[in-house]
């Protein structure tokens, strides 16, 4: 009953005309930007953050959530139509989605992706509403030591997000932690890493960092790859799935949703792992696995459902524990902080209309997304044909103005340019910027709680292992680390053997 009462409260917030409009606008703009090749959800959310600065907090979060799943859907559309994944989570969708598009079934693939995402979104939203409050209750019992261990677990989990070397991903987290220390130390008032620049005394703002690392670096990479030319897209014959398609896609959607939601709750699991796992599960279950890669509709429905389920399940640790499980949730936490909201277990009790309003808006947003996208698929296809040379200056201008208006200082634009270059260099060196972002957001929390836990224990570092909750969290983190290192070790050894 409580659940229904809460959801009703949320619906009353999110169905207010203002918030409905924001949700709609967010989903629309998110799709619009997310459809552009090379711009994944993280980059899109980072670039559109400034749009929400001047809104009331609830409205801003509703709009950001709308932008997030809008961009996710937009990314799937790009993956299906031009075989270019915006983010690693839509890589799998490329395989069968684009194969379907080449057979002239792009419309069916896009509709399947939209409907599978809708189903997964609704199921997962209910899951968030059910699982959020008890988790927040657990989190209230957390002391500083538990928080440190939880954050370590989250950061280690984030390493799975980065494809590639585990050590490099850890180094990126460390770099993020290092960047988070720039500015005045809250405890002592000492300034650190400021290079004597007064503009840095308040620390590095999170918007220029996110926009530079994701927005600018993505633009540079896209320009390098396309030179500013347009792309050819597959033609669209019909939109609606046939009865046969529905029969095949339906069970795959359900399995994908379950898979995605389970993996999404795990720190660092996220959408990528979910979509890959769902795809391989479908391939294993299929009676004729050789159809996969040739345009099997299950190969679109399952990863898309998993993708959406996982990316919404990520909200659970973010909202209830205040710990972002991936870079996008780190962006959301940054946005909340800008609005003066501290994410964490207390949010549910202190600001129920914000918490439940946001959750209910996810329900509505998912419906809006389908209503919005089915008729507009043709428009997205046309947008994809606009040469990038016309699009990227607009995106650049938007990034610059957004960063500038943070506190009307050109310094933030300079920082953004600097981080753009850094992001590009890191990409070239095969270092993923997503863990960096996570480290940056968690840095201050981690340092504060680490100091506090040590203070409380009288300088005894074993406190992290001996307190039961903290110890088990650390054990899980260690296990994760071990599991991730092992296949790499094996593969590396295999490679070495092959070379000889």
């Amino acid at each position: 009953m409580d659940l229904i009462g809460n959801l009703l409260l949320g619906l009353s917030v999110s169905l207010s005309p203002d918030n409905l409009l924001l949700c709609f606008g967010g989903a629309l703009i998110g799709t619009l930007i997310g459809v552009l090749p090379g711009l994944g959800p993280t980059a899109t959310v980072a670039m559109l953050l400034p749009l929400t600065f001047h809104l009331p907090p609830v409205g801003a979060l509703i709009m950001l959530a709308g932008i997030f799943y809008g961009s996710q859907y937009g990314g799937s559309a790009t993956a299906i139509l031009v075989n270019l994944p915006g983010e690693s989570s839509s890589v799998v969708t490329c395989l069968d989605g684009h194969a379907m598009a080449r057979q002239g079934r792009a419309g069916v693939a896009l509709a399947t992706a939209a409907l599978a995402s809708l189903f997964a979104g609704i199921v997962t939203t209910v899951l968030i509403a059910v699982a959020g409050p008890p988790l927040a209750g657990v989190a209230l019992a957390f002391g500083p030591a538990e928080y440190v261990s939880l954050m370590l677990l989250g950061l280690i989990g984030a390493v799975t997000l980065a494809h590639g070397s585990v050590v490099k991903a850890i180094a990126m987290i460390l770099l993020g932690l290092l960047l988070s220390m720039v500015g005045t130390d809250v405890n002592s008032g000492d300034t650190r890493f400021t290079f004597g620049l007064p503009q840095l005394y308040d620390g590095i703002d999170f918007v220029p960092l996110a926009m530079g690392l994701f927005g600018l670096a993505e633009i540079i990479t896209s320009l390098e790859q396309t030179g500013g030319a347009g792309r050819t897209t597959a033609p669209i014959a019909s939109l609606w799935p046939k009865r046969e398609d529905v029969r095949q896609a339906w069970p795959a959607t359900v399995r994908g949703t379950v898979m995605g939601a389970l993996l999404g709750i795990l720190p660092g699991g996220g959408a990528t792992l979910g979509s890959f796992a769902a795809y391989s599960l479908e391939k294993k279950l299929a009676r004729r696995p050789e159809r996969f890669g040739q345009g099997a509709i299950e190969g679109v429905a399952a990863p898309e459902a998993a993708n959406n389920a996982a990316s919404q399940a990520c909200f659970i640790p973010m909202l209830s524990l205040g710990i972002p499980p991936n870079a996008i949730m780190a962006l959301m936490i940054g946005a909340m902080t800008i609005h003066g909201i501290t994410p964490g277990p207390q949010i549910m009790a202190k600001q129920p209309e914000l918490f439940w309003g946001m959750i209910a808006s996810m329900l509505i947003g998912n419906v809006i997304l389908v209503i919005l996208n089915l008729p507009m698929i043709g428009l997205w296809v046309r947008l994809l044909r606009v040469p990038y040379g016309y699009l990227f200056p607009a995106i650049l201008v938007f990034c610059c103005i957004g960063t500038y208006t943070l506190n009307n200082s050109g310094f933030n634009i300079l920082l953004m340019a600097l981080f753009g270059v850094l992001g590009y260099v890191l990409r070239k060196l095969d270092c993923e910027p997503a863990p960096l972002m996570l480290g940056f957001v968690l840095g201050p929390l981690l340092e504060e709680n680490l100091g506090r836990a040590l203070l409380l224990s009288g300088g005894d570092p074993t406190v992290f292992a001996t307190r039961p909750i903290s110890g088990s969290l650390l054990a899980v983190a260690a296990l994760l680390l071990l599991l991730m290192v092992m296949p790499t070790v094996r593969r590396r050894r295999d490679e070495a053997f092959k070379d000889e």
């Binding site: 001047h54 075989n83 994944p85 690693s88 490329c94 494809h163 070397s165 050590v167 490099k168 180094a171 460390l174 770099l175 932690l177 290092l178 220390m181 130390d185 002592s188 000492d190 650190r192 890493f193 600018l216 633009i219 540079i220 990479t221 320009l223 390098e224 790859q225 396309t226 030179g227 030319a229 990038y388 040379g389 016309y390 990227f392 200056p393 607009a394 650049l396 201008v397 500038y404 208006t405 050109g410 634009i413 300079l414 953004m416 340019a417 753009g420 590009y424 060196l429 095969d430 270092c431 340092e447 680490l450 100091g451 040590l454 203070l455 300088g459 005894d460 593969r491 590396r492 070379d499």
Partner: protein, 197 residues
């Protein structure tokens, strides 16, 4: 990446186009055709180490760590029971040096990807455009800053012809003024001082 010239030079080890890299082949096919159009790229450099890309990454990581340690060399670390502002930077700096050393060491022992070609033109073009915007938006106002950004940014990709470029700049400047100044009411200067104080 199979489409890079590197693979032709080193048939044996180039199979190791990063096997863990899940960004799929389509990017490569899309990249290869207009590669020359973007211009400004060179053949990747070759170093006599098995994994030049990892070497670069490792050195960069270690450099960040060393810089942090050096900058924080005089900061008080306190004791474990009462850590002070120098403790966390030193810990993270040490860990970074360690991580950098591991990546560097591994790059000398196992085969890995080569250094990719650098897209100097988009990198410099985009960065210059953004820096120019930063330098002009306060002094000259939004409209000139947007026009300068569009003009410089145009050099980052395949340049547009003058007329479409002018139209794009004009439309963007007008759109930004409409959206940000009139619509959202942000306190941005629109024109230079000498035009409208």
């Amino acid at each position: 990446m199979p489409s890079l010239p590197l693979s032709n030079l080193r048939p044996s080890s180039s199979v190791a186009a990063p096997p863990r890299d899940s960004s799929p082949a389509p990017c490569d096919t899309a990249r290869s055709a207009p590669r020359n159009a973007a211009g400004g790229e060179r053949t990747p450099l070759r170093f006599p180490v098995p994994a030049p890309q990892d070497l670069g990454a490792g050195l960069l990581i270690a450099a960040f760590g060393l810089a942090a340690l050096w900058m924080g060399r005089d900061w008080p670390t306190g004791t474990l029971a009462y850590v002070q502002s120098g403790f966390f930077p030193r810990m993270i700096g040490l860990l970074m040096v360690l991580a950098g050393a591991v990546v560097t060491g591994r790059s000398l022992l196992t085969h890995g990807a080569g250094l990719p070609a650098w897209g100097w033109r988009p990198l410099l073009g985009v960065t210059a455009a953004v820096l120019a915007f930063a330098g002009t938006v306060e002094a000259l106002g939004l409209v000139p800053a947007v026009l300068i950004l569009v003009g410089l940014g145009n050099l980052a990709g395949q340049p547009l012809r003058p007329v479409p470029l002018a139209l794009l700049g004009g439309a963007l400047a007008a759109g930004c003024v409409a959206l940000f100044v009139w619509g959202l009411g942000l306190p941005l200067r629109v024109w230079p001082l000498w035009v409208s104080p």
